[in-house]
Symmetry: C2
Subunit: 341 residues, 2 copies
């Protein structure tokens, strides 16, 4: 139950090379039928599992793609990551590729120089939220293996991106609130480095601008996409003597924090203040009130990214190079947290 290839060879009375050939589907044809039988019998009897490290040390491809996620407590209670994971996993099920989750602590210094191919033995990469790990967009272009980047699209970089239409999402939120009669609005933003956060805000402001409105800079408050940060920092906006009538949270986590604070402060939502989130986390269906939010088709988008990556890996010379970007439409989902002003 724990032979290596050398011991197998001795028992079978052949060389290690022959064992190796017999074991690998591609080379089995080069082995005589009766030798094959001997080896197979031996394997059935004692069991034999090739040492992955040895195999990968010798070969360059591992038929594995790495999936880069940020590592923090509770990550798998975030629908964002679960949806992306589901899309990747489901797509890969139909291929002969595997994936390996790479949960990275956020530390630019460390990752800018890291060689994922050598260090993690992956053939390709799917990267989410790259600004959390890399100090500059140029790092993306240096990556030495095919990669697709999910979210935080940069049109000025020649990697391949897939993501939702953030500007449109921001615009839809503005349109929705404006249509309900809101004129005084606040925004809770993500980390300054997040492209998605910036784009959502841009779409929002742009629409308001068209209507002759502009956001009070005091009411654009950063909460790092975190529920607790939102809970704490939204307070100052709410205690403003002439507080806003609506708050656009650039992700759902922050919207949940806002809802919680509103409830603590006994400010009625949506009667007194409307709240819009972003991402369509399933928790938004359960919150009180149910959250109006912007749905991004993450599952589909992750599948598409994976498909492109795998196809590229299989035939790098294929027609479509791994450049450019695919933008998926997003959709505002109206629920109970927004109402007429």
């Amino acid at each position: 139950m724990k032979l290596n290839i050398k011991e197998m060879a001795k028992k079978a009375g052949v060389s290690v090379a022959t064992i190796s050939r017999a074991i690998n589907a591609q080379t089995r044809g080069k082995v005589a039928p009766d030798t094959l039988e001997k080896v197979d019998a031996l394997i059935k009897k004692h069991g034999y599992t090739p040492n992955l490290s040895a195999k990968h040390l010798r070969q360059s491809s591992t038929r594995t793609i790495g999936v880069i996620f940020p590592y923090f407590r509770g990550i798998f209670h975030h629908s964002y990551y679960v949806e992306v994971l589901a899309g990747i996993s489901d797509y890969l099920l139909g291929t002969d590729y595997q994936f390996k989750m790479l949960l990275l602590k956020e530390d630019k210094e460390q990752w800018d120089q890291y060689d994922f191919k050598r260090g993690e033995r992956v053939d390709g990469l799917i990267i989410t939220h790259w600004p959390r790990f890399f100090s500059h967009k140029s790092v993306l272009e240096q990556i030495n293996i095919p990669s697709v980047i999910i979210s935080d699209l940069r049109k000025d970089v020649k990697n391949f991106f897939v993501g939702g239409d953030q500007v449109s999402g921001g615009r839809q939120a503005a349109e929705h609130l404006y249509g309900l009669g809101h004129r005084r609005m606040a925004v809770l933003t993500g980390p300054a480095i997040s492209m998605d956060s910036r784009l959502r805000l841009r779409g929002f402001e742009h629409y308001l601008g068209m209507k002759g409105l502009s956001l009070d800079p005091q009411w654009i408050v950063g909460a790092d996409f975190l529920e607790d940060a939102a809970y704490n920092r939204v307070e100052k906006v709410l205690k403003d003597r002439k507080r806003p009538t609506a708050i656009f949270c650039l992700n759902d986590q922050m919207a949940f924090g806002t809802l919680r604070k509103l409830s603590d402060l006994k400010i009625a939502c949506p009667e007194e203040i409307s709240v819009v989130g972003y991402d369509d986390d399933p928790r938004g269906l359960l919150s009180v009130p149910a959250l109006t939010t912007v749905r991004v088709p993450l599952y589909e988008l992750a599948q598409e990214g994976t498909r492109r990556l795998i196809n590229h890996l299989k035939s790098p010379s294929a027609e479509k190079p791994l450049h450019g970007h695919v933008v998926f439409p997003v959709q505002l989902v109206q629920r109970k947290s927004t109402a007429c002003q």
Copy 2:
């Protein structure tokens, strides 16, 4: 940006052994300060990522645990696996261990003999739903690395298990339905190999037995824990001329299938038929009607399993051997899918 240890050594004018020592935290102390400086400068300049395969080939430990899940489409839309994953991931965040998901296609022949330590380079294993992969409980005892098994507890095997109290869950479901006045009940079961399915049923039947009732074997129908199978197979029970007034589904997926069929057949739930699920999938909050179910603390249970595994890995000689089992209490959650008969 792509040196290996040999090239590093040449550039630094030292031997590969010295580079190796300088790179690894444990051995850095054995290197002269100025040599260290030279090496560090070189790394900062060119970058250096050790080849994982080479490292692991040489060393026996990889500080990685494997997490065995069944591989099927949609697995990450199952709260069961997501919760377990979340528990493991969150616990590991505080340690220097990593995890590697091993998504196994269900094929006993293949896995019974597989050596996960060699084949996947893991130091330990967390295994869910073992009966799907292994043909016999004895395989569990043969595993050559420390393992903890989640769900499908077998007291007659000397591995370490963590799981919910299935018998109690079944009993609670029976008690609840009986208390509501139900006397004619059907059960949708999981795969015959699933210990959890058998135990839930046992608890259910045992309680009914105490009340002098017994289940009609015709009304114990297998649906493999699958939503669609439940949707299809529950029909024959519903079309029985004297159909049951309540259905206990041994997991939530099957309960969702049942609810769907009920709706299609225009049978009112809970007015005409009550439905109880098992697992407390978040979807149960959104279903119409919201699902009465049994909550199993999977997140906590996965954390506990991981904790025990890691502790054991760190000091195998520690007081508690990796044997026995920890059973977590489960709790029936009453929602809207059950009512008085």
